[in-house]
């Protein structure tokens, strides 16, 4: 596991590690990407969430045992034509959440296209989670859980149904991703590799030294 070799501090406390990961959100417009981020980062929900133009950047840290996982979250615009900007945003991402709206079959098809594109063109080994959002609108559902589950399984994706509105599974999906991301290797995959910083050092000057 990640921190087996971490030395003990004189006071006996384990100095935590901070692992930073770039995570990108992709998916059709108005499926709830920005709302998921807002829920995860600020614990809020807006009925009229402003549409994202270009991309938005936020960070949030979660703690897994003694590792602090800091997500650099890149939230993107969903309208089809913004697609040509997307590669600039997902370049170097170590994780992605591809979002669709469970009440809208088209958005599920669009999500599949994003998955394909990521698997072909993004960082090799990128961890992809599929999120079927707006779970609170279960009565209006048009994408069945089984269908998504099977698709996710066949394509090696993590999968959860979420609701930014009720906050169901929101922290959970980020946490599941954090658990799955490798935290103890030195190898860089592509682009900016994962960057691991000893929190005791405070800054990112030891970028090249990963968790030992």
């Amino acid at each position: 596991m990640a921190n087996r070799a971490v030395p003990q501090r004189p006071n006996g406390q384990t100095p935590g590690k901070i692992c930073q990961f770039k995570l990108v959100l992709l998916g059709e417009s108005s499926v709830g990407k920005s709302s998921l981020v807002l829920r995860f980062v600020k614990g809020q929900f807006h009925e009229y969430q402003e549409s994202t133009i270009g991309a938005a950047f936020l960070t949030q840290t979660i703690h897994l045992n003694d590792v602090a996982v800091k997500f650099e979250i890149w939230d993107t615009a969903g309208q089809e034509r913004y697609h040509s900007l997307a590669p600039m945003y997902y370049r170097g991402a170590q994780a992605a959440i591809v979002v669709y709206d469970i009440t809208n079959q088209d958005t599920f098809e669009r999500a599949k296209n994003w998955v394909k594109e990521l698997q072909r063109q993004a960082t090799p080994g990128i961890v992809i989670a599929l999120a079927g959002n707006k779970l609170d609108l279960n009565t209006m559902r048009s994408v069945q859980t089984d269908e998504s589950q099977t698709y996710a399984y066949e394509n090696g994706l993590m999968f959860m149904e979420t609701s930014a509105k009720t906050s169901a599974n929101v922290t959970e999906i980020f946490k599941a991703i954090a658990e799955k991301l490798p935290k103890n290797e030195n190898t860089n995959t592509a682009g900016q590799g994962r960057r691991l910083v000893d929190s005791a050092e405070g800054s990112n000057k030891s970028l090249s030294s990963c968790c030992k």
Binding site: S51, Y89, S203
Partner: protein, 340 residues
């Protein structure tokens, strides 16, 4: 001047929780004098040059700010709306409202209307502004099937509505912006924006190489920061009064004004940007500088952006645009060839 004590500004936008009332009051105490002086001068120019023919003097006047009460009229005159109306006929707006458009486009517009300026008191579900916003975007999509609707246009039209209070005027101003003043930002491939992002990054490299290097070092793509600047023409980015002053010049001088405003931000906040040690703080810094006192003080901001950026001829921007486009096309064709 009640607005300095109000939760809402004079355009109906709710002020942020951390709005700096002290700073704003200081700025307004000076700016109100400027405004009344400008109004008197404008009253005179409206009699001496009622057609608002483009002259060096008028250009200077526009740079110093158009009074709010004259904005709709002056924007219409200086941007060339009349020429468009002469060509397409004055009934175009009504005709376009009756033209059927693609259902998907209609749906995206419907989704975006209620989430345009949700914090503004003049925009709320069932408000006349919501209905007007929908109609303008609809008519524009009908008139420009190649563009249809691009997210971001809602913010531009929303602001136009708040200023002109006339939906037909908004329609024509939107057309003149998109069809005459800007490259193809809003097309289905958004090529114009992608090119201008790269042009901007090259201009920064030339004028502020240390900032450019810093962005590269922290692995921060310009696209993350400035896409919205270009697409929304600083609406929802800069403080409202500053955005309107940029638009005054944009309607007169065209798209190079956007580069000037962007470069001005980089120049003025260079030290703050250079002090950021990682991508997260840099992103945060870009978000905060656009709301800081210098950005709020529109009069100084605009003055400095014309004085202190150095020369920025349209020819240079056009050259860079051509260069970047050519490189993109070359990339695309090698990619195609490689693919077989």
């Amino acid at each position: 001047m009640t607005s300095k004590f109000s939760k809402y500004d004079e355009y109906g936008f709710v002020r942020a929780d951390d709005f700096d009332y002290v700073e704003y009051e200081q700025f307004m105490s000076v700016y109100l004098t400027v405004l009344s002086k400008r109004s008197m001068r404008w009253a005179r120019i409206m009699t001496s040059n009622p057609q608002l023919k483009k002259t060096a003097r008028l250009k200077q006047f526009v740079r110093k700010g158009i009074p709010l009460s004259l904005r709709a009229q002056v924007w219409t005159s200086i941007s060339g709306v009349q020429k468009m109306k002469d060509k397409d006929g004055p009934n175009l707006y009504k005709q376009m409202l009756n033209k059927p458009i693609n259902e998907d486009i209609k749906n995206i517009i419907s989704v975006d209307v209620p989430r345009t300026y949700p914090d503004n008191i003049y925009f709320y579900p069932t408000s006349e502004n919501h209905a007007a916003l929908f109609r303008i975007l609809y008519a524009f999509a009908a008139q420009n099937p190649n563009i249809g609707y691009c997210q971001g246009l809602n913010y531009i039209v929303g602001l136009l509505l708040l200023i002109t209070k006339n939906e037909e005027t908004c329609f024509w101003l939107l057309r003149v912006l998109v069809e005459n003043k800007l490259p193809d930002y809003y097309s289905k491939t958004m090529d114009g924006v992608i090119v201008d992002i790269e042009v901007f990054s090259r201009l920064v490299k030339k004028k502020f190489p240390d900032v450019s290097q810093h962005m590269t070092n922290l692995d921060m793509p310009w696209a993350l920061v400035i896409t919205k600047w270009f697409i929304c023409l600083f609406a929802e980015v800069l403080p409202i009064e500053t955005t309107l002053r940029v638009w005054d010049c944009l309607f007169y001088e065209g798209s190079k004004v956007i580069f000037r405003a962007g470069l001005m931000l980089v120049k003025h906040y260079r030290n703050e940007l250079l002090a950021c040690e990682d991508i997260a703080s840099l992103a945060e810094c870009f978000k905060s500088i656009v709301q800081q006192p210098f950005s709020l003080n529109c009069h100084v901001f605009i003055k400095e952006m014309f004085k202190n950026i150095g020369s920025l001829p349209m020819a240079l921007i056009d050259d860079l645009r051509r260069q970047v486009s050519a490189e993109r096309n070359a990339d695309k064709s090698t990619y195609k060839n490689r693919k077989g």
